[in-house]
Symmetry: D2
Subunit: 359 residues, 4 copies
């Protein structure tokens, strides 16, 4: 059995908190502060977020990614409106139906090749404007980096944004792994959000080395006024908010966000490169951020999972997801690659042995 | 102007985090742990909660008190059902309508003298069973300690519970300040929850010295199965849950919860006693937990608020709330009392002087 | 036992359909018509409603009163907002929680003497603007005629409207019995709606002699654009709408609405007058529209209910509601009054006899 | 321009009401009846529905098809559950998002060839049971006849039902055109609902010759208890319900439902046969119920729509839908076919002429 605290490749939220973030929390713990966001640290976030996202950007800390997405989308939609998303989007498949259940949001889903929408794909659902029988498409949400480890280029983002706005809709970005995207593209956070026309962003700090720190970042100032209310009714308003804000501040005041993302990305690239030439392992799509998707024999997967945590992404094809985090080390990757090699090499003999041992 | 980090009497969530809780968070930050509650620390909570609430008690950590209340109530109600509550309850007046907006919960409110329901008061809304035109009363929620600083005795709780169950309803307790109630009554947590027949409890750790740690505690095991789903759709499922669980563990594994509550309660009592004989200050109701409600001249209030943070509870009557927290010290109270005496003594002369200075 | 089809005093929706309305339905049944409101009859309603409510009034037919109220309120509120209403309002007590459950609407309720709000009463809940913890009061709903059979005078309406708008809120009127109110006040429909500043009206045709015909009538044109969408998502959009519109047209194109209301009102007045001097019957409040509220001995009520249908309004006080409808006749009233006299006269002797018979 | 009241092929809800249904409404208009479904006619429906759907079937009249679907599904789902449906289902594409918005229902959609689900297609979404991140699949809804004019055979229904129940889910049928399906298959209503294991049915009377009469029909008695409450909170409870029940009774007490469906089906078949050999018209899929889907040149469509109402189903392919109703006559079909022939024959010459005329 594997040591419980061993670093695996299951998810970047299996990782702990970066020491600098922890230190920031401790240092925020001084005296009394006004609750619910009127504390000094939260107030100070404004400047930090403006520096990264441009003047006028407004950040509203929330508890988790689902909360950030639902609050963001609700601020962009009237009660009868709907949002277009990739069928693989977190909002569609991994939030337990929260968008529908908390906020009555209709999702118009579009199948994609690689988790990425395009104007052509969005157009498949962007119709029926003015027809009461059709939940009115009013926003599009895209994920950067996507749930499938892919990235939108700046040009792709611009095309999407132009199309979305040309149809009178608004653009939301699920940036649970925005840092990984920016790091991989080698650009600042503003270049792939504000500058391409994103209206509202879910900014993710938790997977980037935080403890639990996400934010709704409003880039289109017209949409900001309702957020405080929607955050409250969405049960995403922290009383001792300073401790969430301190985490965001720690990640963003210097380049910690970037270093953490670069490390995770580099480890994914190292893993991709190392397994690329192992016979029996097929990389499904290019690892552009901090995850590697691969197909390997299911019995190999089963044996590997005795040593390292990771998820099977598709039971039918045997596709697995290997996710690297800010704390993944070269040694973690190398041990994992060695284990893959060993288990693949072991082949049928191993399986037989296993059966013998079991009897 | 008052020093930003001075301890005031505004709210127990203006306070920071107890050092032992902070230490527990730091010590939880070791290696990878399964996300979303399958980590070792969260698993270990079960035993701790069973020790405090009896065998079979199940705790589900959530982010905040509104989340705990709404998840709890949703687990007790079918879609067409309603909950009876005091009109002063947090669920009614301080959650931005989250029960209605997130979960479609109808609240049947009852005015009370002191924030406390009784069988007679509950009966005012517990009728119309089987009538489709009336949102069906199916649960009652009470707050212990109440929003008005009062307490239910064990006998009062038993009477309520018996009545509620005799009408086929279920009993929820908002225990955002449960620790203060138990400390004040000098009993264990179980005596005022499980033993009196509470079905589901919102247990509050944040105000008790935590950073952000609440839990839905299911005492009626029939109601537990749905909580994981409702917590997820209610956007209250933390990915790195170990860090919330570590806080709850720190508070509950020893007697930290009790010491913190006792300190807050004692300071409220000290404050009540000290102002009791100041002419011009009237204690509105007995300080049974960690808050003092008093009426004093509004100009005195205004001047005091320049030095100490606290809230005016009722603009019309001039009633104010002074809330003590786990970190309130005797010296805090004494300084505050001195300031009250001074400002009251200053009287009209002071006001005149203020005007002169302003001119 | 009473004949099933005898006219009683239970509700104006126990009555059938006025023959002229039925004839209008039959005459609408000609050939094909575009569904969902693009038919000729529905289009023609505009002129009729403008004649009654002023230029620019827009009517949107819906199925029932709850639907009209919820669609109206939803059009006036953002997702985090709330509506102030009398605690006796239909929206609060008789819609099964539909406002909360369908639309997440928080109701801030106010106890009243007679079902009528005043600026002073509204002010009890019209506060906390800008405070995210408080579901934001954004609309007030009043019922004309009220659920307790009382009326707002034109002056009272104006005062309310001015107050409501001065606080930045909007005014909704539940006009399930608007016709009865106008008839009783001797004014047109416009005088007590558009002219006093009502923003959106739920107009009731069903109790006025229709089969099932209500309408959301938008008097504040800024609020009209969303109604078609909200009506659809609220499941209140009829496919063969022409048959609902034909009913509204039949009631409103001539003076049928007025004659029906006058008849119901006159019968309530006749009943009130006739029972006013019966010892043992106490009229609770003046019958201003088409209902009479009275207190009489519960055993008398029980015996009367063997012959005539009507509802006990308050089990504790024994208050009953006698509702007259468009088809109530003088002879209906006189028979009922005779029965009341007889049952009251029978008194204890009767009860004793009943017991004897039962033995 | 076409005569407004001419019968076209746009929808079966463009048709009026069958004279026998109108007569039933008129005959229900006698005296007072208890409101909200306790009237004699509604009570009498039970026997009628049991005769058609088997002992224990319970019918709850509602206003419209969206209402029937949403009330049905809500009764089958807990708050965190989801329903699997064809992506072309009415619930997904034609209800303005009412399932999501009124009831927080997550729809797991599956693309299909012909609007029909199969166990294999359902399996694509029937997974993740017990995983809180996935809105739990708990019901499947199928439409009979489908929105694309196709039918499920009895064997297909049985296979689906067995699969659905084997996965612990429940089966809902949207029977807005159930009569057309039964008529086409030559079986009774019970054979394709109760007997194949449908749990809850939305039964459609409006398109079958009613004015506005649908019903939630509960075939799995475990699911009946909640319907009255859900119907009320879903704003689908009619006060003068007798007039809806009378319509359902008129359709179902004799064989009016069957005759009306047979007529519509026969006319669709006649139309399909007649256009089948017109060059330039391609029948897209077999007309199994009362609609014909065809592709024809868009300019022909445009010219035809000047004379006859019908909808373009797919702007890209030029597919149109021709729907026949209970009142469609042979002469209607023949005139339409003649017009198609003429417009297709007219071809380019006509277009040229049009251009000339326009210049």
């Amino acid at each position: 059995m594997f040591a419980e605290k061993k670093r695996g490749f299951a998810s970047d939220n299996y990782a702990g908190v970066h020491p600098d973030v922890l230190a920031a929390i401790a240092s925020a713990n001084e005296g009394h502060q006004i609750a619910y966001g009127d504390d000094e640290i939260t107030q100070g976030l404004t400047k930090t977020f403006e520096r990264h996202f441009g003047e006028g950007a407004q950040a509203f800390p929330v508890f988790n990614g689902t909360g950030a997405n639902v609050v963001s989308l609700q601020a962009m939609l009237k009660s009868w409106e709907a949002v277009i998303c990739a069928s693989t989007s977190h909002a569609n498949v991994d939030e337990g139906g929260a968008p529908e259940k908390v906020a009555g949001i209709k999702l118009w889903t579009v199948p994609t090749e690689d988790g990425k929408l395009t104007p052509e794909l969005i157009a498949k659902q962007a119709w029926g404007f003015g027809d009461v029988h059709r939940a009115q498409p009013a926003a599009v949400t895209i994920t950067q980096a996507t749930e499938l480890g892919t990235l939108y280029s700046i040009d792709e983002l611009k095309e999407i944004s132009e199309y979305v706005h040309s149809r009178g809709m608004k653009l939301h970005m699920d940036g649970a792994r925005l840092a990984n995207a920016a790091a991989s593209l080698g650009v600042g956070l503003q270049e792939i959000t504000t500058n391409v026309g994103v209206d509202v962003l879910s900014f993710g700090g938790t997977k980037n080395g935080g403890m639990g720190c996400e934010a709704v970042v409003v880039l289109n100032p017209d949409l900001a006024a309702s957020i405080p209310y929607i955050r409250k009714t969405g049960m995403q308003l922290a009383s001792k908010m300073r401790f969430i804000s301190a985490q965001l501040q720690a990640l963003l005041e210097g380049d910690l966000w970037l270093r953490n993302a670069q490390q995770a990305n580099a480890m994914a690239k190292r893993l991709e490169n190392a397994v690329g030439d192992i016979e029996g392992v097929r990389i499904v799509r290019k690892a552009e951020a901090n995850s590697v998707f691969a197909v390997l024999p299911s019995e190999v997967t089963a044996r590997l999972q005795n040593e390292f945590r990771f998820y099977v992404w598709d039971q039918v094809t045997g596709e697995v997801r290997w996710m690297c985090s800010w704390d993944t080390t070269e040694s973690d990757v190398d041990s994992f690659v060695a284990a893959i090699r060993e288990e693949i090499g072991a082949g049928d003999g191993n399986r037989t042995r296993a059966v013998s041992l079991g009897s």
